[in-house]
Symmetry: none
Subunit: 219 residues, 4 copies
Amino acid sequence: MSQDTAKRILDAAITLFAEHGFQETSLRDITGLADVNLASVNYHYGSRKALVQAVADHYLAPLCRDLENRITERLIDDTKVHPEELFEMLVKAVLKASSSRPQGVVLFMRLMGFAYLETQSDLRPFIIKRYGETFKRFMRMLHSSVPNLSEDEFFWRVHLMLGATILPLSSHHALTEIESESYETQASVEVILHRLVPFLVAGLSASADTVSPKVEKLL
Amino acid sequence: MSQDTAKRILDAAITLFAEHGFQETSLRDITGLADVNLASVNYHYGSRKALVQAVADHYLAPLCRDLENRITERLIDDTKVHPEELFEMLVKAVLKASSSRPQGVVLFMRLMGFAYLETQSDLRPFIIKRYGETFKRFMRMLHSSVPNLSEDEFFWRVHLMLGATILPLSSHHALTEIESESYETQASVEVILHRLVPFLVAGLSASADTVSPKVEKLL
Amino acid sequence: MSQDTAKRILDAAITLFAEHGFQETSLRDITGLADVNLASVNYHYGSRKALVQAVADHYLAPLCRDLENRITERLIDDTKVHPEELFEMLVKAVLKASSSRPQGVVLFMRLMGFAYLETQSDLRPFIIKRYGETFKRFMRMLHSSVPNLSEDEFFWRVHLMLGATILPLSSHHALTEIESESYETQASVEVILHRLVPFLVAGLSASADTVSPKVEKLL
Amino acid sequence: MSQDTAKRILDAAITLFAEHGFQETSLRDITGLADVNLASVNYHYGSRKALVQAVADHYLAPLCRDLENRITERLIDDTKVHPEELFEMLVKAVLKASSSRPQGVVLFMRLMGFAYLETQSDLRPFIIKRYGETFKRFMRMLHSSVPNLSEDEFFWRVHLMLGATILPLSSHHALTEIESESYETQASVEVILHRLVPFLVAGLSASADTVSPKVEKLL
DNA sequence: TATGAATGAGCGTTCATTCAT
DNA sequence: AATGAATGAACGCTCATTCAT
C-alpha cells in the first residue's frame, strides 16, 4: 500500500500536468483522480513543487542515464559521428524513457513544452541544474558533427529544433483532430517522428549564409 | 476617460502577459500596474477571458488585415510564388503588427505558444474561428509553392515550422539569459528571425524520403 | 456598510483574541462571530498579522496619544513628580483608552498578556517600534521619581510591575470565579486597581539592598 | 528502548516548549528533535494534551513533594513563621525542581504563565486538581505570616505576586534582548530572582490603606 | 462612467490523530 | 513496542466576479 499511494499520485500528476499544464492542475485535481487523500501528496513528496520535480525526474532520470550510456559507448569507436546517428540516439532514448506508459512520448513532450513556456514554476532551472550536464555533453557532440556553424548559430538551431520537436508533439492530439483522422495513437507518434527527423536534419545542416541577404533586407 | 481606462488596462495586460505569461498574471496585477480599479476590467471587457481575447485581437486583427492585403496584391501578378516570398511576406506582416510596442514580437509568439498548448482555455478555438480563414489562405499558397509534398506531409511541416518559430521566440528571454549576453531586446528578436528563416526554408524544402529508412528502423 | 464590516471584524477580533489568545483564534472564528465573509479580513486589513496590529493600534494609539498629552502638560509645572502621580496618570489613560467597550480594561490587559507571552506573533516588536518612544518617555519620568535605583534595577522593577498588573487583570474572570462572588464586572476591575496601586508603589519603592544577603544565600 | 523513546520525547518537548511556547510547538517539531517516530507520542502519552500534562508533572510533582516536606518539617518547630522564610522555602523548592536542566526555571514559569492565561486548554484545571492542595497549604501559612490582611486583600496580593513572578520570568529571554546584554543564561535567572524577592516582600507587606483615597478619586 | 465593497470558491499547506502491521 | 502510512479538518490567503451606488 505504501508504494501504491505515491505511485498513484505520480501517475495522476503526469496525466493531468500533461493534459492541462502545471499551473492549471491543482493538488485536489490530482488527489481526486488518484483517489487518495489530499494530504498524502505532502506526506510522500513534501510539497507541490517537489511533486512537479518528481514528475520531471520520472522521465529525465532514465533518459539521461540511457543517453549517457549511449554516448559513452559510441565514443569508444572514434570514427566521425554523423548527426543522423545522434538524432537516432536521442529518439531511441526518448522512446525508451517514455515507453512505460501509453502516450508516453506525447506526455513527455507536453511536459517539456509547459516547462518551456510556464515562467513561474521553477521547473526549468531545476532541470538545467540536475540534467544540464548530460544535455550539454550531447550538444557538444552534435555541434562537432556539423562543422562550419558558429557557436551562436548552433545554439539557436538547437532551440529551433527543440521547438519543432516539442510543440507539435505536445499538441498533436489537437492537430490530429484537425486532420480528422482517427487512428491508433502510438502509431501517430511514430508518424510525427518519421516526419520530424528529415526536417531537423535539413534545418540543422542548412547553410547559415545563403538567405541572409534577403532576411536582412526585410528586417 | 472611459477610453483611457480601457487602454491603460490593455497596455498593462500586454506588458504583464508578455512578462509573466497568462496564467501567472492576475487581474490585480494588471489593474495595479494600470492604476485603475479592479472592477473596471470586468466593466470594460466583461471578463478575464474577454481581456485575453482582446489582447489577441490587438495583434491578430491588424496582422490578418495586412496579410490579406499582401496576398491579394501579390496574386494580381500571376507568376509563380516562391516560398521565400511568402516567408518574407509573413515576417513583414508580423513585425508590422507588433511594431507598436517593444517586445511586440515576443509577446505575440508567447500568445501563440499558449494558444498552442491550450492552457488558456478557449484561446485556440477563438483564434481559429476568427482568423482561421486568413491563415488557411496563406497556407494554401505556401503549399502550392513547394510541389511534391503530400497533403499530410505539408500539414505536419507547417506545424514543425510553427513549433520552431513560436517556442524559441516565446522563451527567448530565458534563452538569452543562458547565452549570458546583454543586448538590446528588439535587436535580439531580429537575430532570431535572421537565424530562423534559413532553417525554415531548409526544413520545408527537405525531401521527405531520404532518411526514412533509418527512421523506420529505429521506431 | 463599508465602515461597518471593518468595524465588525475588529470588534470580533478584539473579543476573541482577548478570550482565547491570538494563536488560538482563527480568521474563520472571527468572521464567523462578525458574520462577514472570510475574505473581507484580507480586503480590509490585508492579512491576519495586520489585523492583529490593528487591534493593538485600537488600544495603544489613543492610549499613547493621551499619555503624551498628560506628560507634556505635567512637565509645564516643573515641580518634582511623585510616583503616585505617574501611576494615576497611567491608570487614567488606560481607563480612558479602554472605556469604549464593556470589559475594556480586561480585554486590553489580556491582549497585552498574550503579546507578552506568545513568542511567535510579531506583535511585541511591532508595539515596541510604534509605541516604544512614548513608554520610554514615561519610564524615564518614573525612574527619576524614585531616586537611588540603578538603571538595571529599575528596568526589572518595571517588568515586575507590568507582570503584577497584566497577568491578574487578564485572568481576573477566572480568579473571580475562584472567589465565588458574582458582581458587576467594571466594579471588579476597579477593585483590582484599588488593590494594585499600593502594591506597586511599595514594590517600586523597596530598597534594593536590604534582603539581598538572604537571597544570595539561597541561590 | 521503550523508556528511552518516552524520555527523548519528554526532553525534546521541554526544550521546545520553553523555547517557543506550547502553541508554537508541533508534535512534528518534538519528534523531529527527539529523532523518534511521530506516532510514538500518541503511543507513549496518548495525546498532545497528555504530553503537556506530563511536562507539567515533570516539574510540579517533585516541587510539591519537596514543598510538602519542607512545610511539614518547619511545622515541627512551632515558632512563628516569617514571610521571608516562606519565600526562601518556595524559591529553593522551585530551583531544586527545575535544576535538572538549563532554563528550567524559565520553562517552569512559562508553563505557569500559559496555565494562567488559560490558553493551553485544560492545563489550569489539571494543575489545580492535582497540585492545588499543596499550594493552598502553603498559602495558608503565608497568610498567617502576615497579619492584618483581609482574606480578599491577601488573595489578590498573591495573584499580584504571581503575576510579578511569572510574566517577567517567562518572557525574560525577550527582556534580556532589550537590555542588549549578553550573559550566561542561568545566571540571569538568578538575577531576576535576586531582584524579585525584595519587590515581593515590600508589596506583600504594604499597608492596604495608605493610598486608597487617591485611587478612589481617580476611578 | 466608474468604483469600493463584498463574496464564494478554491488554493497549497499543516495539524493531531488513527491504524494496520 | 514501535512505526510508516494515511486521513479529515482546518489553516491563512488569493482569485475572478458581482453589485449597489
